[in-house]
Symmetry: C2
C-alpha cells in the first residue's frame, strides 16, 4: 500500500474535477477569438482514464528493490504504474502535452517515500551503492523541467517523494521562526500556522500543490514577496541529507560564515542532496488586509509609480501592475454579474469608464494595478494614503477594494488555464524574468517584439501579455503569459516561441528566471547569464559534491534535453 | 615607485596622528580603574618608527618577479620592506600586538597593484605558473585573521593590493545601482556618491579604511543595515577574476538561476578569486536624518521594544541598544562640558536622571538606545512617533536628538581604542554574533558568564559589555567588547577569553560571526556552526575551484593557525 500523499492529476494540473471554465465568463470566447483567431469549444473531457497497461513494467533490479525496502518498509516503496507516471514528470507544458497523450517519456523505476532523515540517508546510500539516480519529488509543480527524466539515463531512477517528511514541527513565536518538514505542501502548512495565529505568507501560483522543500530547491518566490520575502530570505536554516552525510544549518537571522551554504542549497534542484527540513520565517496574521486596485493610463507611468513606492519604503505586501494586454485579458475573464452587489459595482465601474474616456485614455493601454496592505488598521490606512498619493501623481484612478477582493480569490486559478488551452489545441505558457528598473521597459518591449516575430515565423496569430510584480530597491520581476494555436509540431513551435522570449530577456539585460528555476528548460542560457566561468565553477561544485552523478543530474547546467532538441 | 594607495599605520589602526584620547574625558580613567583595576597613563608614543633593517629581505624568485612585472609594470610591483610589513597582516588584536613589537610574522615576498581585470588575471596566471600564493588585500582592516599569512607556507606569497581597482564607474540612477571598483575605500566612494546626491549607506566600523571588495569578501554589514542591508543584500552583481577565467554576474534585483554564485563569492575571503568590480545598491541622500536616543530601565524590555519595531515594520535606518555595562561605558567616555549648549544639555540630562531615580531605576542596568530615521520630513516624523510609542510602552524615556548627534560623530572612533589599550598593556577586542530573538537573552547571559569565568581563570579583573544592533525579522546581532590587563602571555590569555566567548555563542544558539567573517580566528568553530558535512561541502568547493591552493588557502576552513596554538 502506498502512503497517503496527495498528488495532482496524472495528466495535468491540480485536482481531479477542478477546471478552468469559460462558460460563465461571457467576454472570454470573443476575446480568444480576437486574440488567437480560435473558436473555443466546451471542454470535452473531465478526466483521462489511466490505463496501467500502457505503462512499461518497471525494470527495478531486485537487489536495489530489496535495499530500498530494507532502509524504509515495503509500504514505502512502489513500482505501481500510476505512481511511476505521476512521478515521471513535472508540470512544464511540453511534459503535460506528452503525458496527457499517453506519451510518458522516461519513467522512474521506483517511487520511495522515506519518512525520516535516516530513511532518506538510506535511500541515498542504496542509490550510490547500486549506481542509481535519485530525483527528489515534492509537489510535481515545477514548470522548468527540473523533474523531467533523461531518456538516455541507463541507470535505475528512484523518485524520492518527500510527502512523508511533513508537519509543522516547532514554532518559535518569539522569533517568528517555524521548523517544517520539507515535503509539507502549502495549504497544510498555512492551515497549521493559521490555527496558531501565524502565516508564512509565501504564495507562489503553485501554492496549492507545491512543497516547502520544493520552494527552496527551485528558489521560488510568492506573490507576496514584497512583505514576506523570496524563499531565499524566508528560509533561515535547513537540513539537507547528502550521500556523504547530513548538513545542518542552524536558524539565524544573518551571518558571516564564509560562502553561504544556505544559498548553495537554495536553487540546487536536487543536485546537492535532499532538503528534508527547513526553518522558515513566519509572521503573525495581520489584523487587517486590504487589496486596493488602481487604473493607470499606460504602462510607463504605472512602472514609475511602483518604483516610487519602493523608493519611499512604503511597506506593502505586494504591488502588481498588468500591462494593457493583461488588463484587457483580466476584464475579459470577469464573471457575468449575477448579484445586486455586482450590478452596483458595475455601475460604479461604468462611472470610472466615463472618467477615463473624458481624460482621453486609450482603453487598450490602460493598466490595472493591485496593491496589498497588511497590518494594524492605522498602519494600513497610512500606507494606503501614501500609495494613493503616489498613484494619483502618476495619473492613476483608484478603483477601491472591490476588484482586489476578486483578485485575491482567483489567485491560484491561473495554472488550470494552461490545461484548458491545451485541450483546445492551444499552447499557452508563462515565462518570467527580473531586471533593474532602468531596463524593465526595454525588456518589456524586447519580449513583445521577440514573441511577435516568433508568432509571425509560425504564421499564426499569437498572444502575449505581462505584469510587473515582486518589486525591490533595484528592480522588479516581469511575468509574461503567451499563447498560440498549436500546429503539427507543438513541441517545436513552443520551443521557437519560448526560446525567443528567453533570449530577449537575456539580451535586454534581464535574468533567466526570477522564480521558476532553471531545470532543463532554461539551462542552455546559464552561460549567458552567469558567464562561462560561472557555469564552470558551478560544475566544479556539482562534480565535487556528487562525483557519481547520482543526484538529479542534468539540471541547472549541462542539460541533456534542451528546447532546441524539440526543434528538430 | 609604488602607486599612491592609502594604507593604515603599519603598526596599528587608522591614520598616523589619530588616537583615542582620554584626557578630555574626565570620567574615563576612574571608569577603567574600576572596571579593570588599571591606572591609565598618558600615551607615551605617537608613532612607531619603521626600521627597514628589521625586515628580512624578500626571497621573491626572479622569474616570478619578472612575470609579475610583465603582466603589470615595474611601478606596480614592490618588494619594499614597509610595503611588505603593511601587507603582511590584517587588524586582529593578536596581529597588531606582534607587529607593533616588531614581530612581523610571515611576510609576503611581493606586493602587486594590478589596475585592470586583465592585470589581475595576469597576476593569478603567474601565481599558478610559478606555484605561488595570492592573498587579496583591500584596506587591511579585517580582524578575523583573514589576511594573516601562514609561517609554514613555503611558496612565495603575493599580496594583491586592490587599491588601483577603484572608482565609481557607473551610476544607474533609475535603478539605484552603482558600478564600483573592488578596491575603492568607503570614504572615497561615499564622497563620489554624495556629490551626485546618492549614498551607499554601508557603514561598518572599519568604514574609513575598508574597501567595497573587502566588504563583499568578508560578508560585512554596516551599522545602518536595517535600511541599507547587509553587503550580501547590497551587492547585486560582480566581477570575480579567477585563474581559469572571469566570472561576471549581471546586476539583477533577484533571480532563480540555481545555487547563488553571488552568495558563494560573498564571504569567500579570497579563496575563490579576486573581486574586482561590484554593482551595489545606492539610495538617494535622505531629505532628513534624525538619531533619537531612548533610555530603558533594563535590557530585557529594551530588547522586547526593538523586536516590536521590527515586527511592526517601522522603517528605521538603525536601531541599537547598549546593555547596562556599555551604557555605563558610554557615559564615562563623554567629553567634559565646555560650551553653554552642553551645559544646558547637562541640565536637561540632570532632569532626566531625577525622573529615573524617582522611578527607582538601577543606574547600572539602564540601557541607552539609538534609533535612526531617514526620509522625507513627514515620514521621519511618523516613524519617530511610532517608535516613541513602542519605547514608551516598554518603559523608556526619550532623550531627544542630542546624544544621537554625538553618537553619529563618534561612530568610527572605536577601533582606535584597541590600540590605546594595547599601549596600556590591556588586551581589548570585540566579538559578535547573531541569534534568533528567542535566544538573544540567553546568548547575552552565556557570554557574560563565559567571559567572567575566563577572567577568573586568568585571575584578573576583566570587563565585558554589549550592544544589540542589526535587527531582522527573526533576530538580531549582539556585539560584545571585552578587555583585561595583559599578563606574561597576552596571546594565550586572549585566546582563552576569545575562545570562551565564541564557544558561548555557538552553545547558546548563536552563530560564529554576524559580520566580521571567519578568517583563521573563527575557522575552528565552523563544523559546530554549519556541521561537519557542511564544512566538507565547502572544502569540496574550494578544492575543486582552486586545486593548487593558490588562493588565500587556510581561511574560512582548515586554518593552519588557530587561537589554540597560542595557548601552548
Amino acid at each position: 500500500m502506498t502512503p497517503d500523499v496527495k498528488h495532482m492529476k496524472w495528466w495535468g494540473w491540480g485536482e481531479e474535477g477542478v477546471f478552468f471554465n469559460y462558460l460563465n465568463k461571457p467576454q472570454f470566447a470573443p476575446f480568444v477569438k480576437k486574440a488567437l483567431d480560435i473558436d473555443l469549444r466546451p471542454r470535452k473531457i473531465d478526466t483521462i482514464a489511466f490505463d496501467p497497461d500502457t505503462v512499461p513494467d518497471s525494470t527495478l533490479p531486485d537487489d536495489l528493490a530489496a535495499a530500498l525496502v530494507a532502509v524504509t518498509s515495503p509500504d514505502q516503496v512502489s513500482v505501481d504504474p500510476h505512481e511511476r507516471v505521476v512521478h515521471g514528470h513535472g508540470s512544464s507544458v511540453t511534459e503535460l502535452l506528452h503525458v496527457s497523450r499517453g506519451d510518458y517519456g522516461r519513467l522512474p523505476e521506483v517511487v520511495v517515500y522515506p519518512a525520516t532523515d535516516t530513511e532518506v540517508a538510506g535511500v541515498l546510500a542504496a542509490a550510490v551503492e547500486h549506481d542509481a539516480v535519485v530525483v527528489p519529488y515534492g509537489g510535481g509543480t515545477n514548470i522548468a523541467r527540473s523533474l523531467q527524466l533523461d531518456p538516455a539515463e541507463k541507470r535505475p531512477i528512484i523518485s524520492l517523494d518527500t510527502g512523508l517528511l511533513s508537519g509543522l514541527r516547532e514554532l518559535d513565536e518569539d522569533s517568528g521562526l517555524a521548523r517544517v518538514g520539507g515535503g509539507m505542501q502549502g495549504p497544510a502548512l498555512e492551515e497549521a500556522l493559521n490555527d496558531r495565529g501565524w502565516t508564512l505568507g509565501h504564495m507562489p501560483d503553485s501554492f496549492t500543490h507545491s512543497t516547502v522543500g520544493g520552494w527552496a530547491a527551485t528558489r521560488s518566490s510568492g506573490m507576496q514577496s514584497d512583505k514576506y520575502g523570496d524563499i531565499a530570505g524566508i528560509v533561515r536554516g535547513m537540513t539537507v541529507v547528502r550521500p556523504a552525510g547530513t548538513v545542518t544549518l542552524r536558524p539565524v537571522p544573518s551571518e558571516s560564515t564564509g560562502p553561504s551554504l544556505r544559498e548553495m542549497f537554495i536553487g540546487s534542484e536536487g543536485r546537492l542532496g535532499v532538503i528534508t527540513e527547513l526553518w522558515v520565517q513566519v509572521h503573525r496574521l495581520p489584523a487587517e488586509r486590504v487589496v486596493v486596485a488602481y487604473m493607470y493610463p499606460e504602462w510607463k507611468s504605472a512602472v514609475a509609480a511602483i518604483r516610487q513606492i519602493a523608493a519611499d519604503e512604503v511597506p506593502t505586501t505586494f504591488v502588481r501592475i498588468s500591462d494593457g494586454n493583461e488588463t484587457g485579458f483580466s476584464l475579459a475573464t470577469q464573471k457575468a454579474a449575477t448579484t445586486l452587489k455586482k450590478k452596483l459595482e458595475g455601475k460604479a465601474q461604468a462611472g470610472l469608464w466615463a472618467v477615463m474616456r473624458r481624460r482621453g485614455w486609450n482603453t487598450d493601454q490602460m493598466c490595472i494595478s493591485y496593491v496589498c496592505f497588511e497590518g494594524l488598521a492605522a498602519d494600513v490606512a497610512a500606507r494606503r494614503k501614501a500609495v494613493d498619493a503616489i498613484a494619483r501623481r502618476h495619473g492613476a484612478l483608484s478603483l477601491g477594494t472591490g476588484p482586489g477582493a476578486l483578485y485575491d480569490q482567483k489567485k491560484f486559478d491561473t495554472p488550470y488555464l494552461r490545461d484548458f488551452l491545451l485541450e483546445q489545441d492551444v499552447m499557452g505558457d508563462v515565462s518570467e524574468t527580473a531586471a533593474p528598473w532602468s531596463k524593465l521597459n526595454g525588456v518589456h518591449r524586447a519580449v513583445y517584439a521577440a514573441a511577435e516575430k516568433a508568432f509571425a515565423q509560425l504564421g499564426r496569430k499569437g498572444w502575449i501579455m505581462s505584469h510587473l510584480s515582486h518589486s525591490y530597491h533595484a528592480g522588479a520581476c516581469l511575468y509574461f503569459t503567451f499563447a498560440f494555436k498549436a500546429g503539427e509540431k507543438p513541441d517545436a513551435e513552443y520551443a521557437l516561441v519560448k526560446t525567443a522570449i528567453q533570449q530577449a530577456f537575456v539580451d535586454a539585460g534581464g535574468t533567466l528566471s526570477h522564480h521558476h528555476g532553471v531545470g532543463m528548460e532554461h539551462a542552455p542560457w546559464m552561460e549567458q547569464v552567469v558567464s562561462t566561468e560561472g557555469v564552470a565553477l558551478m560544475r566544479s561544485l556539482f562534480d565535487a559534491a556528487d562525483p557519481g552523478a547520482h543526484l538529479n543530474p542534468g539540471k541547472v547546467i549541462d542539460a541533456p534535453l534542451t528546447l532546441f532538441d524539440n526543434l528538430e
